[in-house]
């Protein structure tokens, strides 16, 4: 029983960051209809920004987090402006392949600059974990959960309570009509990609110090993000949050009770199962797929 509770605690910490990754991707996928293969690179990028600010510049850990979010936002905006804006109106395969090219180039760039050796980030949190009866959780992981929850809340408010959010939702429903109503669709696309990218960078900045940082860390994160998006349904933010926690639970239980070697297979098995039984995602209203 205590083992199961421990898995639940781990699931909460992991699920929070997975939700961040999923929200970012589902926004881009849903609003822009772009299969964003650079999402994982942005995750890696966020983690390396943490490494640069904390280890190389020696600045405060809590300052590094907003720096990573901002850097992710800027890089996302740059990718959108240089690679996606000129290809507006191309089919989904073309933009996807361009994103794959950008992903290869940027990941190799990371490898070139920082090398393949895994890096770690020192955190200001005490080594000793917080013990709550039968379970224990490290202070760092608690902070990760709190920060992720806060970012999810901010994103939710941004989408649902601001005029930018309203314009994004309108573009998601019908970009031609939104454009006719005076929404600057180009600006919405750039903002969407920048916000999605900053969330991926935030997820990397939060999980990087928990694990280790290396150039290929984003690859698995990207596929997990796709699993979450498929689970939650296209462009569905609430679905992405719930999907993030479901994937985390499946991974924890799979690693705990089946075999730790298959932890990372859970996301893929979920993708395959969802697409077989409920291809519109678990929480989507009826909508045509593909």
């Amino acid at each position: 029983m205590s083992e199961f509770l421990q898995h639940l605690i781990n699931m909460l910490v992991l699920g929070g960051t997975y939700a961040l990754l999923g929200i970012g991707l589902t926004l881009i996928f849903g609003i822009m209809n772009v299969v964003n293969f650079t999402h994982g690179v942005l995750y890696t990028f966020g983690a390396y920004i943490m490494f640069i600010v904390v280890q190389q510049l020696g600045l405060n850990f809590f300052l590094a987090l907003p720096v990573a979010v901002l850097a992710g936002w800027l890089l996302g905006a740059a990718i959108e402006l240089t690679l996606l804006r000129p290809l507006r109106g191309s089919d989904i395969d073309t933009t996807m392949l361009v994103m794959i090219g950008a992903w290869i180039a940027m990941q190799s760039g990371t490898l070139w600059i920082w090398g393949g050796v895994a890096k770690s980030v020192t955190t200001p949190f005490p080594e000793a974990p917080l013990v709550l009866g039968p379970v224990s959780v490290s202070w760092l992981r608690l902070f990760v959960l709190a920060a992720a929850a806060m970012l999810i809340l901010v994103t939710y408010l941004l989408i649902n309570k601001t005029s930018l959010g309203r314009a994004m939702r309108a573009t998601f429903q019908d970009h031609d009509t939104a454009s006719l109503m005076g929404v600057n669709v180009d600006m919405i696309y750039t903002s969407t990609f920048a916000i999605g990218s900053s969330l991926a960078a935030a997820a990397g900045a939060l999980l990087g110090p928990v694990y280790v940082i290396f150039p290929q860390m984003g690859d698995l994160a990207a596929v997990k993000a796709f699993a979450i998006v498929i689970l939650g349904g296209l462009g569905n933010i609430t679905g992405a949050v719930i999907g993030g926690f479901i994937l985390a639970l499946a991974e924890e239980l799979g690693a705990g009770y089946v075999s730790s070697g298959y932890r990372d297979a859970m996301g893929f098995l979920i993708i395959i199962a969802v697409l077989i039984f409920r291809p519109t995602g678990l929480f989507a209203r009826a909508e045509r797929v593909g």
């Binding site: 794959i100 070139w112 498929i230």
Partner: protein, 347 residues
């Protein structure tokens, strides 16, 4: 004209081992040839049905593992205390089994994933390849996991009256790969120009219209997936018996991406496209190696992929064919019309 070019190209390729003595270059040509076969099989799906399989390396890897395990033998425990013991068989049987089992996997993936299209199909195929990779990594009893399967025997051809010819040298393997590539090329060419090929292109151009004229879309797509997977499996088998060692890294996503780059660069939906793209991207690392670090090479790869999509979105071969058509018929109809008919004509 076209036939002469083809015959000259084949003759030029066949003459290479007679004058090229550098084993490093010959090795690069053989592995490139193997990947060209993979790229041709990917082109059958991507170029002629419009379905992008980003898990294509799974069929290649399954072919490699099936062929290696058939010729090495294995001894694994099954649930319930049974053991499955397989004594080594000749590699040529492994080659055949690799084609059959990869094709079977193509059938199941097609069955599952052609319920969805577009981005969803892409993600299902990625997931499939990753699950297969994790199984190859974790089922240590069968695959040796990260320790790799080693000492895979070379393919031996039975020659009636002369015993056996073991294809161990690069010289032999070059011709083996060339012959398999030619067979795959001719098979795909036949298929594309048949009634079935017209069904495939029809549903790529307009699926609703294809259904309305009586094309069974799911069946057509599944058959294309089976043939494509089987050819990829053959390429994987050649790879296993040539390199003679395989580990789960064969399933790396970057290998699928390499094949996709070959197809896109050369020109999807063109028969010669994957060959041209494959030769360029297979030999590019050889040319870049003295001047660039491996990481920088990959940056160049990504950059070239993006540049090709921006500058020549149709790929090299179709763009060149278009240039040639314009050059030979300067007073003919305006080039735009040529483009449109070339793209829209259902062959």
């Amino acid at each position: 004209m076209k036939a002469i070019v083809t015959i000259l190209a084949v003759a030029a390729l066949a003459s290479v081992p007679l004058w090229l003595r550098d084993p490093y270059l010959l090795n690069a040509l053989i592995t490139t040839g193997i990947f060209v076969i993979g790229a041709m099989s990917l082109n059958l799906l991507l170029g002629f049905t419009g379905q992008l399989s980003l898990g294509h390396i799974a069929f290649f890897g399954i072919g490699a593992y099936v062929s290696a395990l058939t010729s090495l033998g294995f001894d694994i425990g099954l649930p319930g205390g049974f053991r499955l013991v397989h004594a080594p068989w000749p590699p040529i049987i492994g080659f055949v089994l690799a084609i059959l089992i990869a094709g079977l996997c193509g059938y199941f993936v097609g069955l599952l994933s052609f319920r969805v299209r577009g981005a969803y199909f892409v993600i299902v195929t990625i997931s499939f390849a990753e699950v297969v990779r994790l199984v190859a990594l974790n089922w240590v009893e069968l695959t040796q996991g990260p320790l790799a399967l080693t000492n895979i025997p070379s393919i031996a051809l039975p020659l009636p009256g002369f015993g056996e010819l073991t294809l161990r040298t690069k010289f032999h393997n070059y011709y083996l790969v060339l012959v398999v590539a030619l067979i795959a090329y001719l098979l795909i060419a036949r298929l594309v120009h048949s009634h079935f090929g017209r069904s495939m292109r029809g549903l790529m151009e307009n699926e609703t219209l294809a259904v309305s004229v009586g094309i069974d879309v799911t069946r057509t797509l599944t058959i294309a997936a089976v043939i494509s997977a089987a050819i990829a499996g053959a390429a994987g088998s050649l790879y296993a018996h040539y390199i003679r060692i395989i580990d789960p890294e064969v399933f790396a996503f970057i290998n699928t991406v390499t094949m996709v780059i070959m197809v896109i660069t050369g020109g999807k939906g063109s028969l010669a496209g994957p060959v041209v793209g494959g030769l360029i991207f297979g030999l590019l690392p050889v040319g870049l190696r003295p001047v660039m670090a491996p990481e920088a090479q990959w940056i160049a790869y990504g950059g070239v992929l993006i540049a090709i999509l921006f500058v020549l979105p149709r790929g090299i071969v179709p763009s060149l064919a278009l240039r040639l058509a314009k050059w030979r018929r300067p007073a003919g109809p305006p080039p735009v019309t040529v483009t449109e008919t070339a793209a829209k004509e259902p062959a």
